[in-house]
């Protein structure tokens, strides 16, 4: 099924491989069923997830948002073959000497915010925005690429988009100290590229408030 593959990540619901494919290096994402669900229902749900991930990736590509190009979708085996992005994650970048400078952070923040605004404009909600799922292309000297659309879906709800941003904000505050300015710059760029930015950013405040209440209750 997958030959000469190198396993690069074993997750709870997917395995990610790097393998040769049509004279290139490709990422192959294999989704497997969670054991506790009903087998046939499982197969259906898994297959639907695979289709959804591929569709969201392709939808972004068509909206000129930098995402891995989908190469092949093998529904039989729940595999997505896609472009291998050579580079590092924003998470890794932020701990390099360059990544700690305000100039670099501001450039990257701008790109992230713009990309997320465009993504929300086409009603794609990522579902798992973390600094590991934002990569920087080596080839272009570090332009931002959105990856891992495993939890993504199509929605036009303000709330869903606000939660998407909130998840990223939490990822920033929990893993990267002193990046408040950078996150504010992300939201600023988002404000310029997202069509419904005003409503979404207002909703983000509500979502934050709820989050705070919840953590106070423990």
């Amino acid at each position: 099924m997958i030959h000469n593959a190198q396993l690069i990540k074993q997750g709870a619901e997917a395995k990610v491989y790097l393998a040769p494919f049509c004279q290139r290096q490709a990422i192959i994402k294999e989704r497997f069923a969670k054991a506790y669900r009903h087998p046939t229902l499982d197969k259906k749900l898994t297959s639907r997830r695979v289709v959804q991930e591929a569709r969201c990736l392709n939808r972004c590509q068509k909206a000129l948002i930098d995402t891995p190009t989908v190469y092949m979708v093998d529904l039989e085996n729940s595999l997505i073959y896609m472009e291998y992005i050579e580079g590092i994650s924003v998470r890794e970048f932020l701990v390099t000497a360059e990544g700690e400078t305000p100039e670099a952070q501001s450039r990257v923040a701008k790109e992230i915010g713009t990309a997320l605004g465009k993504m929300h404009n086409i009603e794609v909600v990522h579902g798992d925005l973390t600094t590991s799922n934002l990569m920087m292309r080596k080839e272009t000297g570090g332009s931002v690429v959105l990856i891992d659309f495993g939890l993504s879906y199509v929605s036009n709800l303000i709330e869903d988009k606000a939660v998407d941003l909130y998840v990223l904000e939490r990822a920033f505050t929990s893993t990267h100290p002193n990046t408040e300015v950078m996150f504010a710059q992300i939201l600023e760029a988002y404000g310029e590229s997202s069509k419904a930015a005003k409503l979404i950013l207002k909703k983000l405040e509500d979502v934050r408030m709820r989050g705070r209440k919840r953590s106070m209750l423990g």
Binding site: I2, A54, N58, Q61, K62, V70, M72, V73, D74
Partner: protein
């Protein structure tokens, strides 16, 4: 001729590609395709619609996969390769767009599996034209047709992005 492994199905054999320019018998070949001449054992693709070898290898790999699982949408493995180049599910239209016409002068012959020497001999005996290597195929691409067939956004202008758009279209054909 160049041969490439099918990474997902190495046991099936290689994908063999041969490019021909100055083709003189396209009308005859087209006729043989129309009557489904069984002695034609390879696919023929209009070469000015091929941006990169990856495009062909992907279409052929998908055809090989679907052949293995008994899911070909068209009559033969050869026609499936041509069909797979198109992003739409309309078989007749896909074959017409990406296959050869009577006026074709430059084509790419594609075959999955078989002994390379025999494949090359068969291709050379069938196509009356000049065999060149894929890397020498510096012919102008028909960008107008490519843009139309793959519905490429006018804002996409660099070759690499165009190729990625094309690849995405081929990839999403079965999950539209």
């Amino acid at each position: 001729m160049e041969s490439f492994p099918i990474d997902t199905l190495p046991s099936v054999g290689d994908i063999h590609l041969a490019c021909f320019t100055g083709v003189r018998n396209a009308a005859d070949l087209k006729e043989r395709l129309q009557v489904q001449d069984k002695s034609l054992t390879f696919a023929m693709v209009e070469s000015n619609l091929i941006m990169d070898v990856f495009q062909i290898l992907l279409a052929a790999t998908k055809a090989a996969q679907d052949n293995e699982s008994g899911k070909l949408k068209t009559q033969t493995l050869s026609s499936e390769i041509v069909y797979n180049l198109s992003p739409t599910n309309n078989i007749a239209e896909s074959l017409k767009r990406f296959g050869i016409t009577e006026d074709t002068t430059s084509l790419i012959a594609v075959k999955i599996g078989g002994d390379p020497d025999e494949v090359l001999e068969d291709m050379s005996n069938t196509v009356d034209g000049n065999l060149i290597s894929f890397s020498k195929l510096d012919q102008e691409k028909d960008m107008e047709k490519l843009r139309k067939f793959y519905k490429i956004d006018p804002k996409v202008t660099d070759d690499k992005a165009i190729l990625n758009w094309i690849i995405g279209g081929i990839a999403m054909k079965n999950v539209q």
